[in-house]
Amino acid sequence: MKKLRMAIFDFACCEGCQLQIVNMEEGLLDLLDIVEPVEWREAISDQSEEYDLAFVEGSITREEDEQRLKDIRQRARILVALGACAVNGGVNRLKNAPDMDEVRRCVYGNSATMPHLATAPTKAVGEVVKVDFEVRGCPMSRREFTYIVRCLAAATTPVVPTYPVCVECKLRETVCRYEFNEVCLGVVTRAGCNAPCPAGGQWCYGCRGLVDDPNVNGAKDIMDKYGKTVADLRSRMELFNSVEARQCQGQ
């Protein structure tokens, strides 16, 4: 079987998702049986003009990045968004709320006007080019990444959960965070992570993004039931789902 030519690119992010791939250690050898890395800044020095499979990590925050991403798309047969930043803008999207000049000043101080720091509102990869598949999460899950690579190499469609995190909490018999009087985003967040945060005593941050059909209309009733407000819910959604948080009205 011919190996897939794989490339990995990074945009605005912490590069933690790529690091997950490097950290696979011996699992990396299995991966190299089915893919041939042809461009991957974090691990190799080669570059390539053509790839079967391009993984794009990070969100798009500058005009020149949009062009670079479009070039990648043209050279790639399949493009996969890697991690929360790429899939929906992730934490970077927090900056979209206030005035952009203020954001520049706050972050870069006196250097704010330098041309390479001309930051624009954050976009997800899918807002700039067509995305074929997504590997969600912050960081993305290694298990899901290798599963998707195997599926693509075998030309089968990956099946990833479309249901909320609650399913995985129940299967692990994790006591619900709402019972601890906390607002947890697990009820509207895509599963697939195996719910490690609630199992460790922490409410779900929603890093995998929302399910396809999140019930935000019911939010107010639920918050009332637990003595919370929609503002409580929204403040938690800001971190990884700021777009939806702003749509979540009903105060």
């Binding site: 190499a153 399913v167 129940k170 019972e179 999140p214 639920i222």
Partner: protein, 342 residues
């Protein structure tokens, strides 16, 4: 074998002995709740548990179970996973749910995976000592059980009445020391426990005979309760995931890294999840939240009773607790339908 009596200390010694012989899984404390887990010492056993987060079905049909291994070249080989196990301290409503699973998976064309695992499991049932706040088993006739287990334990004051019903149960009892014949007073107290269970396990009251439910539902397809209550449904499937009477599953294949071999698994599914009724081609037979919400009640109180003669609910109340939105309670739904019908 006639009923015996066992002191608390003799019970602990017996459990210790069982742990030495075989894998014992039993209710143990988990945060403020209880969960079935492998028992490593008799002291962790909580026969006073009210209800466990997941029912013991996780041992009869694990949430993710390997069915077969396949290779591109040589076809497939079935994988039958099982381990001799004692399910210890099972409440009557859960015993009833296991009997329902037996009906689904052991009759007509037995499911070899379920059958093999089921045969290696010995059930030590335990009458309920503390009722959970949501339980309504007494309304459905599952507050006590008289079959479906190997051994039944009933606490009577400071001791237990213990009765074996099967050769497998006799073999377990043979490991107990200081077994006494159950005296008439203890047996009388056991009768009283069974009688009390009919009151204790009725924290919520279904205002009709469960046999009337299929006809009630027959006339309620367009009832406003479905739309109203499902407005806050997160489609998270928690009501189904924690249900002892739900056994729907999905089957998925996963390739090994070499892409030449792989594993087929069976995983728990839940009809409240948005993708449950999606078929090839992408059509979803129950696309709307309301349709999925309604389906659960029809499945449990109409379709299954009509097909098998029993309701797909044993009144444990786990769904009531598990539902973040507080809309899963079957008693509330059926009673609402009754109000409309009268």
């Amino acid at each position: 074998m006639p009923a015996k009596k066992l002191s608390q200390s003799a019970l602990a010694l017996w459990v210790r002995k069982l742990i030495e012989t075989r894998r014992v899984v039993a209710p143990q404390a988990k945060a403020e709740h209880f969960a079935y887990a492998p028992l490593s010492q008799a002291e962790d056993l909580r026969l006073d548990h009210d209800v466990t987060i997941l029912p013991p079905r996780k041992y009869l049909m694990p949430p993710s179970e390997v069915l077969l291994r396949f290779t591109r070249k040589d076809g497939y080989t079935s994988v039958i996973e099982h381990e001799p196990m004692i399910l210890f301290g099972v409440h009557p409503y859960d015993v009833a749910a296991i009997a329902q699973a037996d009906r689904y998976f052991l009759h007509d064309r037995p499911d070899i995976h379920y059958q093999t695992r089921r045969r290696s499991i010995t059930i030590v049932a335990s009458d309920v000592q503390n009722a959970s706040e949501d339980v309504f088993a007494a309304c459905l006739g599952t507050a006590t059980v008289h079959d479906g287990f190997d051994v039944l334990l009933t606490r009577v004051g400071d001791a237990y009445v213990i009765e074996s019903r099967t050769p497998a149960g006799d073999a377990l009892l043979a490991l107990a020391q200081d077994l006494q014949e159950a005296d008439p007073v203890s047996l009388g107290r056991r009768e009283q426990v069974w009688e009390d269970a009919q009151k204790l396990l009725r924290r919520q009251v279904l205002k009709c005979n469960p046999q009337e439910l299929p006809a009630l539902l027959d006339a309620a397809r367009e009832h406003p309760v479905w739309e109203k209550r499902s407005q806050t449904c997160f489609s998270c499937g928690s009501c189904v995931t924690v249900c002892p009477s739900c056994f729907c599953f999905d089957v998925e294949d996963e390739l090994d890294p070499d892409l030449q071999s792989g594993t087929r698994r069976r995983q728990w599914d839940a009809c409240l999840l948005s993708g449950f009724a999606v078929v090839a081609g992408g059509h979803n037979f129950r696309k709307r939240r309301e349709e999925r919400y309604r389906h659960r009640f029809y499945r449990k109180a109409k379709y299954l009773p009509e097909r098998f003669g029993f309701m797909g609910c044993v009144g444990c109340g786990r769904c009531v607790k598990a539902c973040t939105a507080g809309i899963a309670n079957p008693v509330e739904v059926y009673n609402t339908l009754l109000e409309g019908a009268s």
